[in-house]
């Protein structure tokens, strides 16, 4: 498909384990965003990648969270030593970021449950 895809769709893990969440952006989109959405809440910005520039990590809640974007395409969000408060839906979005007025296209999200 032509949209943003994320995997897995659901992830259940035990407290203390590490998890990796994957995002495949729309081909050609230079910008990629990760957000976290807790139940009934809005979107919390986590990290932003734009081309070859250094990512904006200002939204990452702790050093247990990290993300990579390889080859300017696929991105992986890693959460180490997961805690119960990490349970949320993690959304990825991509955009062209052309001129600053570009909509972000969202993936379906990964629902993370930490037991």
């Amino acid at each position: 498909g032509a949209g943003v895809s994320q995997s897995p769709s659901n992830k259940v893990t035990e407290k203390g384990k590490d998890v990796e969440l994957r995002c495949d952006p729309i081909s050609g989109h230079t910008a990629l965003y990760w957000y976290r959405q807790s139940l009934g809440q809005g979107l919390e910005f986590l990290i932003y990648f734009q081309g070859n520039s250094a990512p904006d990590k200002s939204g990452l809640p702790s050093d247990r969270f990290s993300a990579e974007r390889t080859g300017g395409s696929v991105s992986t969000l890693t959460i180490q030593r997961t805690q119960q408060e990490d349970s949320a839906v993690y959304l990825c979005a991509s955009s062209l970021d052309r001129g600053g007025y570009n909509e972000q296209f969202f993936g379906p999200g990964t629902r993370l449950t930490v037991l």
Binding site: G42, L91, A93, Y101, E103, Q104
Partner: protein, 112 residues
Amino acid sequence: GESVGLHLPTLSVQEGDNSIINCAYSNSASDYFIWYKQESGKGPQFIIDIRSNMDKRQGQRVTVLLNKTVKHLSLQIAATQPGDSAVYFCAEKGRRNNDMRFGAGTRLTVKP
């Protein structure tokens, strides 16, 4: 700090009626606004956007109004249908491309 917020967390309308969802923002530097629709189990879907140099923009059955004087944004849905039931988010963009802030959302329920 500055924030994006919504006046009403829930809205229930009768099928066929018009819906109005409101959003307040306080960042006067915001120059781009988007409305998203999020259905259960899905990611947010773009509905309509508006730049700060406009005060109204229309799409198919939807209209976004921007009042910069009072920093207010609204989404109007004409002839609301059951398929419109979802959570609607407003978002504002500041000076940087990654400075997009989302409101908590309004849940719209359409009664048949």
